[in-house]
């Protein structure tokens, strides 16, 4: 029989049954302690949470070889590992991943305020041994994650425009991973924040809502560019008032009028960075009301899907930036009803339709430019390329995803249903569809 690998016993690291560690002092006195967290790092390493300067820690600093006992909670299969302490990380992706997970574990076990991660102790796994004993039959798998990845990849690869891409990706994830609640946030290239561009399974779409980089499950996943996975309800990484206030202190002005979509009773959360060619594009986020809904395998599968999604976003964004001939414009739509007042506040580019808030920031500046041109010349056809170069559109960076801002604006307009929309009219082109008389009011 080939030797056991760490990958093959990953389920035993999920902490459902707490792991134990035995260490030995230089004088030969053994010590044994429960662990609140064993994190899979890679096929040859695990990391343990360092929370207190206890006997375990004193011992491994002096004598680095330790023994770990872990149990797979589904089958009760037990494994004994020989591990060797290598180093402690006190910042970075591994540390942040463990810190977020620990917040969930602490909350679940009534240890909030007691458990606090000081460092991630990284150990090399030197041997793995199966401990004999009764085992339960493994329950059948709910779903085949490899098949789910394959299907998502196939469907994502078949899409030719950004808006359908985001919707298809969320639809496919919902179906194949049986995840009810999911969203995609994209990175604002200049402002240290992320904005929601598509969501699924929430009462309000939350499209246009923003969070600062580095805050909450999604923000930390983005800043550290690592998946963040939490198995139990907790408050530390929730998007409350405190996070918004912290952002303000950092000088980041956030979209606060549009609430972030989220489950009130969220227990399991998984945020996966969407990257392409070394750049962070955004974050794919899924959540569920049940405990421990997402395991290591779900994380791997969604990382693969996010990789595919990232490459597709990158390619489609570039394609939308090209000019292509416009489709024939339909006859002017009939304009009826009382005038719709479009109020624009120059200070932050916020826009109100009638009395209702629409959007601000980059998307607000786009809408303002479109309405200005429409009222001045009657123009309704626009191209992404000219908009990208338009000085009135305040893109934070040349690499910013203008196309995603247009999707966001289109969705907000659809949700408002106030008589003005934007519609795609060809690759890299769109049309302002106005069915009411518009009246632009400049404020400030």
């Amino acid at each position: 029989m080939s030797p056991l690998t760490l990958d093959a016993i990953r389920r035993a690291l999920d902490g459902s049954i707490p792991a134990l560690i035995a260490t030995c002092a230089p004088d030969g006195t053994p010590n044994c302690a429960y662990l609140s967290q064993v994190e899979y790092v890679d096929p040859a390493h695990v990391a343990l949470s360092w929370q207190f300067f206890n006997k375990t820690r004193q011992n491994v600093l002096a004598n680095p070889v330790a023994r770990l006992l872990v149990v797979d909670s589904r089958t009760i299969a037990r494994y004994r590992l020989v591990i060797r302490y290598l180093r402690t990380e006190t910042a970075g992706p591994l540390f942040e991943r463990m810190k977020a997970k620990l917040a969930g574990i602490a909350s679940h076990t009534g240890m909030t305020g007691v458990f606090r991660l000081q460092g991630s102790d990284v150990y090399r796994v030197e041997a793995i041994e199966r401990v004999p004993g009764p085992v339960l039959p493994a329950p059948p798998e709910d779903r085949n994650l490899l098949a789910a990845v394959r299907d998502c990849a196939r469907r994502i690869g078949a899409i030719a425009d950004l808006e359908s891409l985001l919707d298809t990706a969320l639809e496919c994830i919902a179906e194949k991973f049986a995840v009810e609640h999911a969203l995609v946030m994209l990175r604002d290239a200049g402002g240290g924040r992320l904005y929601t561009v598509a969501s699924r399974g929430y009462a309000d779409s939350g499209v246009g809502s923003e969070i600062p980089l580095g805050q909450g499950v999604i923000g930390v996943a983005a800043r550290e560019r690592t998946p963040i996975r939490i198995g139990y309800a907790q408050a530390e990484y929730a998007y409350g008032r405190a996070i918004r206030e912290a952002a303000l202190r950092d000088g980041i002005v956030l979209e606060t009028e549009i609430p972030l979509p989220g489950l009130a009773e969220s227990s399991s959360q998984l945020a996966v960075p969407i990257e392409a060619f070394g750049r962070l594009l955004g974050v794919l986020f899924v959540e569920a009301a049940e405990d421990q809904r997402f395991g290591y395998d779900d994380e791997d599968a969604l990382v693969a899907v996010a990789g595919q999604l990232g490459a597709a976003i990158h390619v489609l964004q570039a394609a939308e930036g090209e000019d292509a001939p416009a489709a024939a414009a339909p006859g002017a739509s009939p304009v009826a009803g009382p005038a719709l007042q479009v109020r624009h506040f120059a200070e932050n580019d916020s826009v109100f339709l009638g009395g209702d808030y629409l959007i601000k920031g980059v998307a607000g500046s786009i809408f303002h430019a479109l309405v200005t041109d429409f009222l001045a010349t009657g123009r309704t056809e626009f191209s992404n390329k000219e908009l990208r170069l338009d000085p009135r559109v305040k893109l934070p960076d040349i690499g910013d995803n203008l196309e995603a801002r247009l999707i966001l604006l289109a969705r907000r307009l659809d949700e408002r249903d106030a008589g003005v929309r934007i519609e795609k009219s060809g690759r890299g082109r769109f049309r302002l569809a106005v069915s009411r008389v518009l009246e632009l009011v400049e404020v400030g």
């Binding site: 053994p30 609140s36 023994r67 009760i76 009764p134 339960l136």
Partner: protein, 164 residues
Amino acid sequence: MPEAALIDPELAAFLQRGVSVHVSSRGPTNIPNLVRGIGCRVSADRRQVTAFVLASQCGALLAELAMNGAISFVATLPSTHRTVQLKGTDAKAGPPLPGDEALVARERAALVEDLVGVGYPPEMPRALLGGDWAEAVAITFTPTAAFVQTPGPGAGTPLGAGAR
């Protein structure tokens, strides 16, 4: 040997109420070893503790105890997280006594109940604590040090130092 037993009557009762038990040893080059136990007994004078383990699960642990006697023993009640660690230097493995099988069966039933109470499906702790009594080994030692190990900053405090 300490003047008074390290284990007071309350702790003796705790250890025998049905708690989760683990034993660790160390080899000749100070590599530690570790096994889950299936129960425990405290002697009438509370000076000795016996942990029951299954021989097939022990790896080199029994041989290491025979070599140097160094032992660490941890007992925890899952529902409260109360955890105690005992250490000794004179651990010896031997056959269980008459009556031990019934004691361990009682402890196992109580621990299964405690684990079910915190949300584990019953078949899980039953399998975890299951095994053939014919291979049970009694590891007996004299505790020379005892520590509170309930999770938190007080973990590691010697028992009787105020924190429990």
